[in-house]
Amino acid sequence: MTVARRAWLKRLLNGLGAGFIVNYRLSPTQAGEEAPASRETGPLTVRVMRPYDAETPVREFTSYLTPNHRFFVRSHFGPPPPEAVSEVHWKLHVSGLVERSQEFTLKDLRQMKAVTVTAVVQCSGNGRAFHRPKVPGVQWERGAVGNAQWTGVRLRDVLAKAGVQTEARHVQFQGADRPVVASVPLFVRSIPLEKAMHPDTILAYEMNGRPLPLLHGAPLRVMTPGWMADSCIKWLTEIAVQAEEAKGYYMQTAYRIPTKPLEPGISASGSSTPVEAMVVKSLVAAPQEGRTLQPGPVTIQGVAWGGEAKVVKVEVSIDEGKNWEPARLVEEDRPYAWRQWQYVWNAETTGMFTILCRATDAQGETQPATSPWNPSGFLWNGWDRVTVTVAA
């Protein structure tokens, strides 16, 4: 008993000690001071060590494209062993409701017409940590999102080689990643045929002009521009054309949102639909949370995206949302990619301020202050908030 108690308390101490260290490391001013030295925006924030899930520091998003090694990482089981997806062993199988089942090597795919799409990829659970009451799952904050150039073949060109039968309604995907214990359901998902046949839906083998890195789905991943990343299956090996939606946990239970808004805190839900398109959203990339600024003009910048709809407006508020001022949309304007924006704030008075931003898309949807609560915490798009101090 004494041994156990001592050990127990020792562990508690240990935990508290580590808590201080973590705090110290994550202190925004600290991180800010370190940034210039490393010329990068600091380490990714690891949410889960194994399988590795990590988010990008939002200050990275002052650049239009998110570099591969800075891109957020998320999977359910971690990457498959590299041999399983090496060019010698890897094959893509297409089967189900097709005229002729097909097999493709990477070389086969590279010989087909290549298409490049610049698109935001965002985890459906990005911002989960902000839902109240809190919900289970990886507690992502703001950075489980990135914007990259994806190159590959049109999914419909691949399907055309196999010949889609008339009863086909859904296209199911499975990757080479496997859980450590076989009783865990496989990550199998499907998308409706219309999205699969859309000319912008591709199977990507390059990310920002480089071969897809292992952590991002090498050698091939699905890219459904404008849709959440749960459809963008990595390490793709199996495509099955079907009359019905995929079966199994990750389609029938997970990655769904209630059809009707739920009262916060309710755990059982009635009817639900799969998470598909992104909702309009924006982030403040600079200044950083916790920064101390000189009085005078401050350039606030960030990004905004609307999934399948274009972003038409971004607004900034410095007074908790009482007054909103339009930001200037700048640089490239492409479908599915994010739009950069800037706003010059004349910080005249000293004190603490919270910078808020919200975007509006071409369909007239504007980001709400907080998103509708749902039991798994998907599709968070509440106003982004960054608190800074103005001091002379």
Binding site: A7, V46, V48
Partner: protein, 210 residues
């Protein structure tokens, strides 16, 4: 030298007592009752289960970052059992009590992380009992291995997420084997609070016959 070590250990112990009490006090009213039923010994056992049974498929940080009401902890533990977490009903009950007491919606963001780095820094296990050499029983070891180790080290210990154990040098270094199994290393959990010395000796005996 020995004396000095003991004094320091005692001071650390006293500090732990104080900080430990602070830690235990931080619970919301709703789930406070749960913590009362989790004695330090049971808490230790729950933590042992989290590394031994729950960290097979994902690291324990995924667990420690949740702040959930009891009902959702129940549902989560049930889901994990269904997916293959090797826990008995009693163990599931204990885990739900512990998890909902410690990781309740009102708990602060920074609590003790349960990752393996910490375990390595400060191993938390009883020393092997010094009651003369243990004789391992290979036949028992097979079952204990299957239940506790196979998920990571593979069937017949030929390797999986964790390294191969059969016919490896570590079987020639019994001390190192014990050290690794008791205290853990990297993603390898510490087993000292879960398995008895006899269990470990049985596993060692079984591995040595392969």
């Amino acid at each position: 030298m020995v004396r000095r070590g003991q004094t320091m250990r005692f001071q650390a112990f006293a500090l732990c007592m104080i900080l430990g009490l602070v830690g235990l006090a931080v619970v919301t009213a709703a789930q406070e009752k749960d913590m009362e039923t989790v004695s330090p010994a049971l808490g230790l056992r729950a933590e042992g289960l989290i590394i031994a049974r729950c960290s097979v498929c994902h690291s324990a940080d995924l667990i420690a970052q949740q702040r959930l009401p009891r009902a959702r902890w129940e549902a989560t533990v049930e889901k994990m059992e269904h997916w293959g977490a090797e826990i008995s009903n009693d163990e599931a009950d204990l885990l739900v009590r512990y998890l909902s007491a410690r990781y309740h919606p009102g708990a602060p963001d920074q609590l003790l992380p349960l990752d393996s780095e910490l375990r390595k820094a400060e191993p938390l296990t009883q020393e092997p009992v010094a009651e003369g050499p243990l004789t391992g029983v290979a036949a028992r070891g097979a079952g204990i291995f299957e239940h506790n180790c196979q998920a990571c080290h593979g069937a017949m210990a030929i390797g999986g997420m964790g390294p191969k154990l059969v016919k490896t040098p570590i079987l020639k270094q019994e001390d190192l084997f014990w050290e690794t199994v008791l205290h853990g290393r990297g993603a390898m959990p510490a087993w000292g609070s879960v398995l008895s010395p006899q269990d470990i000796a049985d596993i060692f005996a079984w591995l040595s016959t392969k």
